[in-house]
Amino acid sequence: MTDSGMFGARGTGDTSGYSGLVRTPASTGSSERPYGSYFDQVADDLERAYPEFSQAIERIVVDCGELTLHVKREKLVAVALILRDSLKFEMCMGVNGVHYPDRTNREFSAVYPLLSLTHNRRVRLEVIVADADAHIPTLVEVWAGNNWHERETFDMFGIIFDGHPGLTRILMPDDWQGHPQRKDYALGGIAVEYKGATIPAPDERRSYK
């Protein structure tokens, strides 16, 4: 099937659009050299500085003018240390998760945007883990500022960062059930109690899903 136009929403309850369009999933392939810009330089430097490059880096994707290195989680800390110390990516801008429930055994992506102050460059690390085994080694030892970001990603997705000094919820209350940013977590699923008024259960309200 092909795209049949610019328009098309899928599964919405509140629009009456054409809805006949099939969305194309993102490519799963690797980009080919030359990557352009400073990306070849970064890949070469990392390959030189890190002997296990070919085992650790699953694929390299260049899209939208950004370089993404897909790293095996076992090698994440080693790659991060090389990137920080040899390639001068002094800063990690945190981590954020993405949940893809349709990707069997590869449900979660954890994405780390890195910044090099020395070379004025950016690169993105991506680690993919399964929902059943959502463990990623922590990078707090490498970049201390990742502490809260990892707590937030744990809070929102339930990804466990092994070795984190205090992996507790940060935005949601401590006794909260579930992880709100997962795709199977409904929007507005919590009944709110007001004095003397009742709120219909989520499944009886107007649907957004």
Binding site: T15, C64, E152
Partner: protein
């Protein structure tokens, strides 16, 4: 417990005696605490303390007046904006992101829109006039945001007058926002592809006047605070964080520049055409609260310079489009700003309701369903008043975002509270937190 104090009832727990202080008579509380043998006191500051910038909770461990440990409790303002955006179309997203960091709404909108434009591949197609308007609006916003930081920061350290001066200037900026977008805050003015609508008649002379007024008015706060010996004693050498600490904690913005590193994304990784403006990156090398205060003070003048250059450009670009030409992306709902505020453009209503069925269909489809964004992920970072504001946007090719995550500088920089405050005096926590300038709406999202 000797006597019952209605303002500070106490109860014994396994961890020691717990006092619940609700204000009022502190003498009896101090007496009671003094009568215990405990050296270490744990104080729960907030979540509603007046000087904790919104709803921030600090758990302090004290020995006497010395702080031995600080922990932050956040999340009180969490609204699930990122989750909500997954259920609305791409254009509606601006209405959500503008409410994250409510003191810099235009920065949130710009970061988000730049990321969406990157995914759409239309970064180059955004009209120049739209980019210049974005820059001008952002710099005005930087002034209003820095004014809150300076005013409340001074107020928290006991100086009341700077607050009045700061809010006077902020009011000038908010009036301009109201004239342009119809709203003082949370405008959703910057949209994917450009801006919501062109500048109204007579706004450029008004901004020129405002720039003149503000340049004169800024001196009021400068003379009050710069070199003031009380202010120096409360800020110099306080909240120390050096470059190594800042990089490992991912700190950006004025806090990073107070370590002497001239890192400003407007200069090093320009966006929206910032490379075409003349301005200086302000730094300090004191690594303390005073340095950060001076940086914010001096950045005001740089923002005024950029605004003046933007106004010159706008005069040359009179009548140029402010939205991408692609009608499949540009919002068709033309709005008009009347004397009674922002509303539907009568000409547009006439066209879709009276003359063209195709226009009506197009309007309906684009407004209800929205446009599609090619699958992929983009990260765009801009220099907000608080540092690197990064928008991570993921699309699956649909009409709604698959995932939006904001790398909020307030959220990240608040982590430095412990590093800045531990080992110092309890009173200096206030100055240190104020110098980070955290906005809890951005921290909690």
């Amino acid at each position: 417990m000797t006597t019952f104090d209605p303002y500070a009832p106490s109860r014994d727990t396994t961890e020691g005696t717990v006092f619940s202080v609700t204000g009022g008579d502190w003498d009896s509380l101090i007496q009671e605490i003094g009568s215990t043998k405990e050296e270490r006191v744990v104080v729960n500051m907030g979540p509603q303390h007046p000087s904790t910038h919104g709803v921030l909770r600090l758990v302090l461990e004290l020995e006497g007046e010395t702080v031995t440990e600080v922990r932050c409790g956040i999340g009180y303002l969490h609204t699930g904006i990122e989750k909500n955006m997954e259920f609305r179309n791409w254009t509606q997203g601006t209405t959500f992101v503008t409410r994250m960091d409510y003191l810099s709404p235009l920065f949130n909108e710009t970061a988000y829109c730049l990321a969406v434009e990157k995914l759409l591949g239309i970064t180059e197609d955004v009209p120049e006039r739209a980019s210049v308007i974005r820059v001008m609006m952002m710099e005005l916003n930087r002034i209003s945001s820095h004014m809150v930081a300076l005013g409340t920061g001074a107020l928290e350290l006991g100086a009341i007058t700077p607050m009045f001066f700061a809010f006077r200037e902020r009011e000038i900026v908010l009036d301009i926002f109201e004239m342009i977008s119809g709203l003082r805050m949370n405008m959703a003015y910057i949209r994917p592809g450009g801006v919501q609508q062109d500048l109204p008649e007579g706004v450029i002379p008004k901004i020129r006047d405002a720039v003149k007024t503000m340049r004169k008015n800024f001196k009021d706060n400068t003379t009050l605070l710069v070199g003031n010996s009380i202010w120096l004693k409360r800020t110099q050498g306080i909240g120390y964080l050096d470059l190594a600490g800042a990089t490992t904690l991912g700190i950006t913005g004025p806090v990073l520049r107070s370590t002497g590193l001239p890192w400003d994304l407007r200069k090093v990784q320009p966006y929206c055409g910032y490379e075409n403006y003349n301005f200086d990156v302000i730094t300090a090398d004191t690594c303390d609260v005073y340095g950060r205060f001076l940086i914010r003070m001096n950045e005001l003048e740089q923002s005024l310079r950029i605004i003046e250059q933007a106004l010159d450009k706008l005069e040359k670009l009179e009548g140029a489009p402010v939205m991408v030409a692609d009608k499949k992306i540009a919002w068709p709902a033309q709005l008009a700003l009347g004397s009674d505020g922002l509303g539907n453009s009568l000409n547009h209503i006439r066209e879709i309701m009276g003359t063209s069925m195709e226009s009506l269909i197009h309007h309906f489809k684009l407004v209800t369903e929205g446009f599609q964004v090619p699958a992929g992920q983009a990260y765009v970072a801009i220099e907000s008043p608080r540092g690197e504001l990064g928008a991570s946007v993921v699309s699956d090719g649909g009409t709604r975002p698959y995932r939006v995550h904001f790398r909020e500088p307030s959220f990240n920089n608040l982590q430095a509270t412990s590093a800045m405050s531990e080992g110092g005096m309890i009173a200096d926590i206030i100055g240190a937190v104020a110098s980070i300038d955290p906005v809890m709406g951005g921290v909690d999202r």
